[in-house]
Symmetry: C2
Subunit: 307 residues, 2 copies
């Protein structure tokens, strides 16, 4: 397939943008990749490791003349970037983003884009706990879902072209309503992250009592929480602030359930606990069958993806 976009601009050069750069080069999806990051050090790294052909000190300069402009900055920074690049976008360009929240990103970005520019919000459900331009790799999106939440009036041809772009990077693509996206992600991602952050915070408080024991004996459950809670703080602050309603709704349900289980522990209701744990076990089977994880036992010997 010939390069579907002549020039792709990456605004923000973290884990997702750098993985996109690797994946685009592997599949030959862009003739040229331009980039912008606020930090001069990040820009220099992007050139050094070949993420971008050219880097620019401003987002506007990087976006100028690009056929596809990818906003890969934290959700809270989207509005500012959109306002800056809006006047510089080429007619007919496609603008997209990789934010984990869609409704508020649409509100923040859409008003700044000129008529004729196609805005196709996207959320690749992929990531690791690492961040920065050196954290990316071409395989990140393989067999992962990329959700698009196009707004009314978007050119179907532009959506089709952009869909093929993600598929060529290895992803499966689904389209859905932005509000529905935000609710589903609150369940599968945002609430679990807040809960993991909380549990690790509690353990940190207790660490002063138990010295290093919490870390030393972390193998049995807690370790997985610390991996989740090692994710980028700026990105996650913005996710919670911009998907507030859905996240608080799910956390409310979570607390209700947690209290019911706590009560079963307190009153010694073993049957209730057993039934609950049996039901949750079945969900795991569904995820393995859906190809979103493997059945290999995880006992903390994760190998590097390069292996």
């Amino acid at each position: 397939m010939s390069a579907p976009y002549r020039r792709v601009a990456l605004i923000g050069l973290g884990l997702i943008a750098s993985s996109m750069a690797h994946a685009m080069r592997r599949a030959g999806l862009a003739e040229e990749i331009t980039g912008h990051a606020r930090s001069a050090e990040t820009r220099a790294t992007a050139l050094e490791i070949g993420l971008c052909d050219r880097v620019f000190e401003t987002a506007a300069a990087a976006a100028e003349g690009a056929e596809l402009v990818m906003l890969c900055v934290p959700v809270g920074a989207m509005a500012g970037v959109a306002a800056e690049i809006g006047p510089h976008l080429a007619p007919g360009a496609t603008v997209s983003d990789v934010g984990s929240v869609k409704r508020e990103v649409i509100s923040a970005v859409a008003p700044h884009l000129p008529a004729g520019v196609q805005f196709i919000p996207a959320h690749p459900i992929a990531g690791t706990e690492h961040s920065g331009p050196r954290a990316g790799f071409a395989e990140l999106f393989e067999n992962r879902w990329c959700l698009l939440t196009p707004v009314e009036g978007t050119d179907p041809g532009a959506v089709e072209r952009y869909t093929r772009f993600w598929e060529a990077m290895g992803a499966h693509v689904d389209c859905m309503d932005a509000e529905h996206h935000d609710l589903v992600l609150a369940v599968t991602s945002h609430a679990p992250h807040l809960i993991a952050y909380t549990m690790v915070g509690v353990a940190d408080d207790l660490r002063r009592v138990t010295d290093s024991e919490v870390i030393k004996y972390s193998a049995a459950g807690f370790r997985d929480f610390t991996r989740i809670a090692a994710s980028d703080p700026t990105m996650w602050r913005d996710v919670f602030l911009h998907n507030k309603d859905a996240t608080l709704e799910i956390l409310g349900r979570f607390t209700e359930e947690l209290f019911a289980l706590q009560r079963a522990i307190r009153t010694g209701d073993g049957d209730m606990l057993f039934e609950y744990f049996t039901r949750t076990r079945a969900i795991r089977r569904g995820i393995i069958e859906a190809g979103q994880d493997t059945d290999a036992p995880d006992f903390g010997r994760v190998k590097k993806h390069e292996d």
Copy 2:
């Protein structure tokens, strides 16, 4: 090293017992391994795959004449097994267990053991989300901690011999007070498991609303919770019922923290969230430095341990 125990009896033949059998055979730690499981099918499997040299229909028969008797049953079944085997134990035998809770196991088991038998409670902090006799493998304990909580008056020679036994299976060994063990494990294991079970339960309720989307898009955080929440329901019911006080204490602290973070989301206090997430990120670094996990990015491509 010559076999430190002439005959080892495994009472209960699940993940931990079967991993011990593999590890003992690899390191030549027992001349003979006897076993008992309540289910005839499990006993047949244990013979078929060579876990045990001989299996018995009763725990008493399996324990008879053994130098080391390992209680590898759920915590709630310990008292019954101890009462059954007590009269049949060889003089000078060592009895141990692998329960995730120590204070109530000691109360349940110790009264049934005759004078001269050494009881050394143990908790190998190792496991996977799988269970049953076919789930075990020799490497499970490598570089993992095994915590011993010996009671007053235990023969130091017996503890030393038992310590070497675990070290020969690849584990590091620490001794501590049973009550302290139960608090540390409530933080690192018991509370995280209950929280994961709860979050997966909430998602299951919502699945009726969101169809299969929760499973399909599980890659971003939720997937790790489902793995934890796929652990053995009987084992975990018993853990919570028998480490009730410490678990409820930690869950209380957790809820308090969660409410503080929810409040920060509701009021838009981004600084509080950012500082909190930055602090929890540092804990991850500690766990990697302590050798209890690797720094390899986990993006759901866990390889089988046989690789």
